[in-house]
C-alpha cells in the first residue's frame, strides 16, 4: 500500500478523509481550488427525512432502509462516534440525541428542525421549550417577530423576543463575520455583556437565552460560557444563513489541526488524475493515491456545460446526466475508476438536500475507509 495520499477537496468529506488517513499514519496532501461547503452550513450533522408537516421523524433508526445503502446500522453508530471524536480533538464539543429522540433546533426562520449531531454552541433540545431570543437591529437574516410567530407555529410554544440597537461601530455593510470579529475583541465582549444584562431584564430566567450565531470565531465557547455564568441561564446560538459561523469555526480549527499534524494543504485545481497522482492546472504534479472529495456540481467537482454535457473537473472525464434537474444533486462521478476513489457529495446516490446533508458525507467517507482497511489487511 502506498504511503502518500492526495485528497482533492477541503469540504467536510475531504477533511474527514484526511483525518482518517492521518490517524493511520499516511502522508497526506490536501489540494483544493476553493473553500468547501463548511462556511455555508452550521455544522450540524444530519440524517433526517422530513414528513409533509415538517414533523421531526428523523431518528436514524427510523430510516434503516435508506441508511443501509451505505453502511450497516452498527457502522453508522460508530461512524457518528468517530465524527464526534474528531470534532472533539479539534476543540469542538457536540451534543447528540438520546436514543429514540431527535435533537430539535430552530432555524433562522423559526422552524423547529430535527438535527442529529449539533455543535455545542448551537441551541438544540430533545423536547421543545419556550425560549428568549435577543438580536440586534441590522442582522437581516433574523427577523425576531417573524421568528417568534413561526416558532409558535412550529412548536406551539412562546418565544420572548428582545430587539436591541446595534453597537456604535455597526455599519449597514456588516455581515455575520463583522459581528463575530467585533465580539472577539475585548471592546465587543464588554459591550455584549452589558447589552445582554439590559436585554435580559424582565425575561423569564427559566428560558434559555438565544442569540444569533455571531458570537465570535475563535473565542465563541469562552464568551458563551461567560455569558451563561453572568446571566445564570443557558446561552446558545441560532445559526444564520451563509456565511455560517458554525461551519467556519469547525473548518478553521480542523484545517489548522491538520496542518499542525503535518498535512500539506495546497491550493490548486486538479485537472488530471492517474495512478501516479494528480496534475494541477498550473503544471504542478503531486504524487500519491488519490481520493476525490470534490463535492459534485455544488462543490465544483462536476461542471455542467450549456449543452448539458457534464464533466468531472478533476479528470476531464464526461459524466452522463439525464437532463432531469432532480438527478443533478445525486450525480456521481466515475465510481469504479482504478486510479482514484470518490467520497462525499461527489459519490452521488443520495440527495443530501432532502434526506439530510452531511449524513452522506460521513457515510460515504466511512464506507471508503472501511473498504480501504480491508484492502490493507488483505495485502498483509
Amino acid at each position: 500500500m502506498r504511503r502518500e495520499w492526495v485528497v482533492v477537496g477541503k469540504g467536510p468529506s475531504g477533511l474527514l478523509s484526511a483525518s482518517l488517513l492521518l490517524s493511520a499514519g499516511y502522508d497526506v496532501t490536501i489540494v483544493a481550488h476553493g473553500q468547501g461547503s463548511f462556511p455555508l452550513w452550521s455544522g450540524t450533522l444530519d440524517f433526517y427525512s422530513v414528513d409533509q408537516q415538517l414533523r421531526p421523524v428523523a431518528h436514524p433508526g427510523d430510516h434503516r432502509d435508506l441508511l443501509s445503502r451505505y453502511l450497516s446500522y452498527d457502522q453508522w453508530l460508530s461512524g457518528w462516534d468517530t465524527w464526534r471524536q474528531i470534532l472533539a480533538s479539534i476543540g469542538v464539543e457536540t451534543q447528540v440525541d438520546a436514543m429514540g429522540a431527535n435533537l430539535l433546533s430552530p432555524t433562522v426562520t423559526g422552524v423547529l428542525y430535527p438535527r442529529y449531531v449539533v455543535p455545542g454552541w448551537q441551541y438544540a433540545c430533545p423536547v421543545p421549550e419556550p425560549v428568549t431570543v435577543v438580536s440586534w437591529h441590522g442582522i437581516v437574516d433574523l427577523d425576531l417577530e417573524s421568528w417568534a410567530a413561526r416558532y409558535q407555529l412550529s412548536s406551539g410554544l412562546e418565544a420572548e423576543i428582545r430587539y436591541r440597537p446595534a453597537p456604535p461601530s455597526w455599519s449597514p455593510r456588516w455581515t455575520a463575520l463583522h459581528w463575530a470579529g467585533f465580539f472577539d475583541t475585548e471592546v465587543g465582549m464588554a459591550w455584549l455583556e452589558h447589552d445582554l444584562d439590559e436585554a435580559a431584564v424582565g425575561t423569564n430566567a427559566q428560558y434559555p437565552l438565544l442569540l444569533p450565531q455571531v458570537i465570535g470565531i475563535r473565542g465563541t465557547e469562552k464568551i458563551l460560557n461567560r455569558l451563561s455564568l453572568a446571566l445564570g441561564r443557558t446561552v446558545k446560538e441560532i445559526p444564520l444563513v451563509a456565511p455560517a459561523l458554525g461551519g467556519i469555526r469547525i473548518q478553521e480549527r480542523w484545517q489548522r489541526f491538520l496542518v499542525r499534524q503535518g498535512v500539506r494543504l495546497l491550493t490548486g485545481e486538479v485537472i488530471l488524475v492517474n495512478n501516479d497522482g494528480v496534475k494541477l492546472a498550473d503544471g504542478r504534479m503531486l504524487a500519491g493515491r488519490t481520493v476525490l472529495a470534490t463535492g459534485g456540481v455544488l462543490g465544483g467537482g462536476l461542471r455542467v456545460n450549456w449543452d448539458h454535457t457534464v464533466v468531472n473537473t478533476a479528470t476531464g472525464e464526461a459524466v452522463l446526466w439525464s437532463g432531469n434537474p432532480e438527478d443533478l444533486p445525486v450525480l456521481s462521478i466515475g465510481g469504479d475508476s482504478s486510479s482514484y476513489d470518490v467520497v462525499g457529495r461527489s459519490s452521488g446516490n443520495w440527495n443530501g438536500d432532502v434526506h439530510g446533508g452531511a449524513g452522506q458525507t460521513l457515510a460515504s467517507v466511512l464506507k471508503w475507509w472501511y473498504s480501504l482497511q480491508q484492502e490493507v489487511s488483505l495485502a498483509k
Binding site: G138, W147, A149, R150, R173, V241, W306, D307, D353
Partner: protein
C-alpha cells in the same frame, strides 16, 4: 381589458381625453407578454428588409417615446453586425431601407467579444425600454387622472342590451362583481381570442412563442443585432445590470407563457455563439418565454375589420362598443393606443383629440440609492432595503419583486427570499407569507431550471441547500 402595454396605453390615452376608464387584469401589471419581452426600443432597422411600414412606425415611435417617456428609456444605441455570409448587396439594401424611413445609420467600430469575422458593423438609434416601471407609471397616471386599475381581477363574461355592450363580469379573490360600461377594449394580448369569445365573436388567432436567455451581467453597453433577414437568435439587449439574448418563433398552443423548451434554448445558444464565441461561458440566470398573438385576417374580410398596418389590427366587433386590438410591438404601443382610442372616442362621441404624443408620462418614483443608506440591504444583488419595500407595502411578494426588483439578481432569491418573506409576514401573517414565498420560489426556480448550466446550476443546488437544510422550508 389587459394591463399590458397596449391596455394601459389605451386607458392612458382615453383618460387624457376625459373618458372615465377602468383597467382590468387577471394578474399583476405586465402579467402577459409585456412583462416577458426582449426590452428593445426598436429603431425599426430590424424590419426595413421585410416591412417598411412597421419600420417607419418604430422609428417615429422611438423618437416619440424618448420625448414623452424619457425616464423609462435607456439611450443605449444599437449596432447591426453582419455575419460574413451576408452579401454586400443585402447590406446595401438594408442601408437604403433605413434611409428611406429616416433611421440614422453610421458605420461603426468592431465590438469587443463579437466574432472577429463579423467585421461590418453599423450603428442605429435602438434603445432599451424599462417595461415594468413604465407600466407602473402609466397605471399611476391613470389612477391620478381618476381612472382605476384592478389587478388580479379576471374578465369572465359580458352582458349586452340592444346590441350594445352594457356590463362586464369580473372575478377576483373578493368574489364576482358586475361593472356597468359603455365600451370595452380587449387588449388581452395572446388571450384576446378567448376574451372576444365572451361576447360571441372569437378571433382567429395563432400563437407563437419566443424564448429568451437572460445573463447576469451587462455584457455589452449597447443593443447588438444580427444584420440579416430577421430570424431566430439575433438580438442581444442590455437591460440595467443584465443582458437578454433572443429570440425564437415557434407555434404554441396556450396563451400562458410555457416553460422554455430545452432544445430550443440550446439552439438559441448555438446561434448566439456564432455572434459571441464565448457566450457559452457567460453567467446565465434563467430562460423564459413570451407569447405573441398573430391575427389571421379572415379570408372574406369582414366589414368590421380594417388593417391598419401589417403589424397590428384593430377589430370592431358586431357587438357595439366592443373593440379588440391585436399584435404590434412594445415600441409602438402608443401609436396602437392612439388608433384604438380614436375609434373608441368616436364611438363615445368624445371630440378631444389624442394628446399622448406630447403629454409626458408621470415621473419615475424616487429610486433609492445604495451607499448613503443607514440600513442594510435585504437583497444585496439588486440593493433593496426595507425602505423600498415599504413604498409598495400591501402587495404580494411577487408584486414586491417586480416593483423593487428584489430577487432578480444573480442569486435569484437564494439569500433574500426568506428575508423579504419575514418582512412580509409582519403584514400578512406567517402562513400567508410562507405561501407567497413558495410561489416566489417556484417562479424563480422555473426560470433557473430552463437554463441549468454553469454557475446557474451551482446556484440552483446552493439554493436547495439553503432552503431545505438551512431554512427548513418544506421540500414539497
Amino acid at each position: 381589458m389587459g394591463a399590458g402595454a397596449t391596455g394601459l396605453g389605451v386607458a392612458w390615452d382615453l383618460m387624457l381625453r376625459g373618458v372615465a376608464v377602468i383597467v382590468v387584469d387577471q394578474g399583476d401589471l405586465a402579467h402577459g407578454t409585456s412583462g416577458r419581452f426582449h426590452g428593445l426600443l426598436h429603431s425599426g432597422a430590424r424590419y426595413v428588409l421585410t416591412d417598411a411600414v412597421a419600420a417607419g412606425q418604430c422609428q417615429a415611435e422611438n423618437l416619440c417615446l424618448r420625448r414623452i417617456a424619457g425616464p423609462y428609456i435607456e439611450d443605449t444605441g444599437g449596432l447591426f453586425a453582419a455575419p460574413p455570409e451576408v452579401p454586400d448587396r443585402l447590406i446595401d439594401q438594408w442601408k437604403q431601407g433605413c434611409r428611406a424611413v429616416n433611421i440614422p445609420v453610421a458605420e461603426s467600430v468592431v465590438v469587443k467579444g463579437l466574432n472577429s469575422r463579423w467585421n461590418r458593423v453599423f450603428s442605429v438609434n435602438d434603445g432599451v425600454i424599462n417595461g415594468y416601471p413604465l407600466l407602473q407609471a402609466l397605471a399611476r397616471g391613470i389612477e391620478e387622472g381618476g381612472g382605476r386599475v384592478l389587478t388580479h381581477t379576471r374578465l369572465v363574461g359580458a352582458a349586452e342590451a340592444n346590441g350594445k355592450i352594457r356590463k362586464v363580469i369580473l372575478e377576483s379573490a373578493e368574489g364576482t362583481q358586475e361593472l356597468a360600461v359603455d365600451a370595452v377594449v380587449n387588449a388581452a394580448g395572446p388571450w384576446a381570442g378567448e376574451v372576444a369569445a365572451l361576447w360571441g365573436d372569437p378571433l382567429p388567432l395563432t400563437l407563437s412563442r419566443g424564448v429568451m436567455v437572460l445573463f447576469s451581467h451587462r455584457q455589452q453597453p449597447q443593443v447588438i443585432n444580427r444584420l440579416d433577414m430577421p430570424g431566430d437568435g439575433d438580438i442581444l439587449v442590455p437591460h440595467d445590470h443584465i443582458s437578454i439574448w433572443g429570440t425564437t418563433d415557434r407555434e404554441t398552443a396556450l396563451p400562458e407563457a410555457p416553460p422554455p423548451d430545452y432544445q430550443e434554448v440550446i439552439e438559441l445558444m448555438e446561434r448566439g455563439q456564432e455572434m459571441f464565441p464565448d457566450m457559452g461561458q457567460w453567467r446565465v440566470l434563467r430562460a423564459f418565454t413570451g407569447v405573441r398573438p398573430l391575427y389571421r385576417a379572415p379570408g372574406s374580410g369582414s366589414a368590421s375589420t380594417r388593417d391598419i398596418s401589417r403589424d397590428f389590427v384593430v377589430v370592431e366587433h358586431p357587438l357595439s362598443g366592443a373593440f379588440s386590438v391585436i399584435g404590434g410591438k412594445w415600441t409602438t404601443f402608443r401609436l396602437m393606443a392612439q388608433q384604438v382610442a380614436d375609434r373608441v372616442a368616436g364611438y363615445l362621441h368624445y371630440s378631444t383629440p389624442c394628446q399622448t404624443q406630447s403629454h409626458p408620462l408621470p415621473p419615475r418614483l424616487e429610486s433609492f440609492d445604495s451607499s448613503g443608506l443607514a440600513e442594510p440591504f435585504l437583497c444585496e444583488c439588486e440593493r433593496v432595503s426595507t425602505r423600498q419595500l415599504q413604498q409598495y407595502s400591501g402587495g404580494s411578494l411577487s408584486d414586491l419583486r417586480t416593483r423593487t426588483w428584489f430577487g432578480m439578481g444573480p442569486c435569484q432569491g437564494t439569500f433574500c427570499g426568506h428575508r423579504v418573506a419575514a418582512w412580509q409576514s409582519l403584514r400578512v401573517g406567517v402562513e400567508q407569507s410562507d405561501q407567497e414565498l413558495l410561489n416566489f420560489r417556484s417562479e424563480r426556480e422555473r426560470g433557473m431550471l430552463s437554463a441549468l448550466w454553469g454557475d446557474n446550476a451551482v446556484e440552483w443546488l446552493l439554493q436547495r441547500n439553503i432552503r431545505f437544510q438551512g431554512l427548513g422550508e418544506p421540500t414539497k
